[in-house]
Symmetry: C2
Subunit: 466 residues, 2 copies
Amino acid sequence: MAQIDTEVLAALQAITGEDRVLTDAENLQYYGQDWTRFHQPAPCAVVLPGSIEEVQSIVRLAGAHQLALVPSGGRTGLSAGAVAAKGELVVAMDRINHIADFNPVDRTVRCGAGVITEQLQQYAQGQGLCYPVDFASAGSSQIGGNIATNAGGIKVIRHGMTRDWVAGVKLVTGTGELLDLNRGLIKNNAGYDLRHLVIGAEGTLGLIVEATMQLDRPPGDLAVMVLGAPDMGSVMRVLAAFQRDLELSAFEFFSELALQKVVAHQDLQRPFESVSDYYALLEFEVVDEAAMERAMTLFEHCVEQGWVVDGTVSQSVAQAQNLWRLREDISETITPWTPYKNDISTIISKVPDFLAEVEAVVNSNYPDFEIIWFGHIGDGNVHLNILKPDALAVETFRDQCGQVSKWVFEIVQRYGGSVSAEHGVGLLKKEYLTYSRSPLEIEIMKQIKLAFDPHGIMNPGKIFDF
Amino acid sequence: MAQIDTEVLAALQAITGEDRVLTDAENLQYYGQDWTRFHQPAPCAVVLPGSIEEVQSIVRLAGAHQLALVPSGGRTGLSAGAVAAKGELVVAMDRINHIADFNPVDRTVRCGAGVITEQLQQYAQGQGLCYPVDFASAGSSQIGGNIATNAGGIKVIRHGMTRDWVAGVKLVTGTGELLDLNRGLIKNNAGYDLRHLVIGAEGTLGLIVEATMQLDRPPGDLAVMVLGAPDMGSVMRVLAAFQRDLELSAFEFFSELALQKVVAHQDLQRPFESVSDYYALLEFEVVDEAAMERAMTLFEHCVEQGWVVDGTVSQSVAQAQNLWRLREDISETITPWTPYKNDISTIISKVPDFLAEVEAVVNSNYPDFEIIWFGHIGDGNVHLNILKPDALAVETFRDQCGQVSKWVFEIVQRYGGSVSAEHGVGLLKKEYLTYSRSPLEIEIMKQIKLAFDPHGIMNPGKIFDF
């Protein structure tokens, strides 16, 4: 375990109080990693500041001692963006979790970086409003981390990414100065929009300490449809047909193999008897009867066209939830197979060819690999999952998957896609960044980082080597 | 007039062909200015490239000769962002106006920077879709310029700014290299989002040559309501009440004085007999009868609360258009008074106090000034217009308005607002940028510019001195 300099330790304790600086093995392990398990956590200490001023003091101290900082939210990340494996100081935002200044006219609320996503969702509900960004980790992910990774999720097709709900963000730069970016304004064309630069920068430009979040009208009743499609091309045609006449709030997909696993391991039934290669799950707001009628007409049209072979629509909230579980429980269901996971995207229309190419290269090289496809197909975002064959040792499997990654990213590059659709780059994907970004783009990013973080102490080594 | 170096002229002609390089006084005047009239245009020449490759060659040539470039779109800007007053070379995008690769599944289309906004709107319509960003200058403004200024307009409350419809943008940097940013992806968390940095940078980071624009579902029938309100506080309460139950596509406001001028000078009638200090114009999609019923219920509620004294709702498209003219014809109507104009914003809820403070300071210092208020109040964006008293000489009026600007921006600063809500900074507002952005923010912007434009040839002197 990395040791923290005693002088720095004392200075930290002076800033936050002794009991807010943790150095025991258990906490170093706990705060030093996210949901990835590829790196051994090894922070030198964990500090839990209670105010923005304390964060600024910590950063100034770190700058003076060239001590690298790793921001820590809910640590639900899947790209090792919040992993501290090199003796860094972890700055955990748990205590900066105020929810203040709710404004019913602006429909905004000021949140500390440590506010849990679910807390904000519930707070909004209490005000007769809604925070529409939602994903599986909402129960533990924090707003600061959501912003740092521009978290996406299952409602992006209608409500966008976290980016679209940040009306203002406060950032402590690498020199300990506080930037108050955009201040909740809807219209602000006074110079470069640095707010959007900070969103998705994975903590490499500074520590996000507070944000003014935009809230939305609560949705009305939601209906969920699950449709069986003979191939991915049909799934995309179904998407196009529905989007033309209906405002969709979600359009997900999963493969027959994914459905089989979920039904076999969860207390769930198949949506209908007939079997298809792929399934689309779509959700829409039943603003009125006409909306449901439009949906049924669209369904019939898709059946006539041969794009859909069978389908079902929820008649109750409970049914809607059960249909959602067919998609949302996939990830948990396949965990025992220690799956290889990859989060990638292309433009929506290219997804079918893209999937076919990936399957072809994996099948031809590793015919015994089971591929599980699912994802936010309405956004062009697919989650590739490969299950470890029982016979194969974990290490061998991981090595082979390293090769798979290369093939997959080469295809991503040819399709002009993204090596990370929504999970970010972190440590896990930085060696593959060049498949999505040009050398000049990466050079510009590094110069931008230098402008925010001249000492190079803000989450160094994430996204790119710096 | 500035003279272009003969060697550079010859090199330019070799790149684009002789007839694509203009040096006559009339064209220098025409291409050297935008809708502002505060600077005498003085470009050394105007070049009209026909391809991205030609733009790259022009930039490399300019870099080698330290020749400053000014990008030129429709030049409908109101902050002198596209003014060439210092012997710069104007690069006009008029000929790079292809509309290609419409994709019905992604609902995107690839546009040259020189595509006129209205062309894109009509093209989208032809595909059964809609490009929802709209403003008065749509008939001549170009997509490249819209992106460079993050153009807003009258539908921002529902559809956002131009920023929200740019799925990808191609930029030629100050070194002549081509950046292909985001490539139409909906989900892309692979590194910093440089696309959002380029949007609204007013050409200071490079020349926007092409963009992949997102299209939308066409709206259904739209109804327009005009409501009379006793004060701005009531206008805001009306906004909050309607937004809770209805998806508004526009929420504009104007003052009684503005209404008087429009009715007196346009072929229009008052929306109703009763007189109020302020009027709200709101638009919503009549998705069904229920929507209209909800709107009427909300109207009655606002009347009961005393927030609304009178109102009318359009019964036909023609009526809706006439109601819109009450708001949209204001700007043209007051032009003869050579008005002082300022485009500013605060968070929505602070607008009433903000307006009151501005009025107080103007009235107390220049009691003979007539103030005309209107704007996109649903976004917190107000347009301040002061009419020149007939007795006052233009120069004297401009001097006095220079003083007014200082007072206004001091109030903007106290309210945490923006000195430029949607028009950008350009030359006109750069001396006031510090009222909205901190010294550190401006320093970071300059370092970012350096990363994109090391020779400092991209629209230098706009936004900040560089």
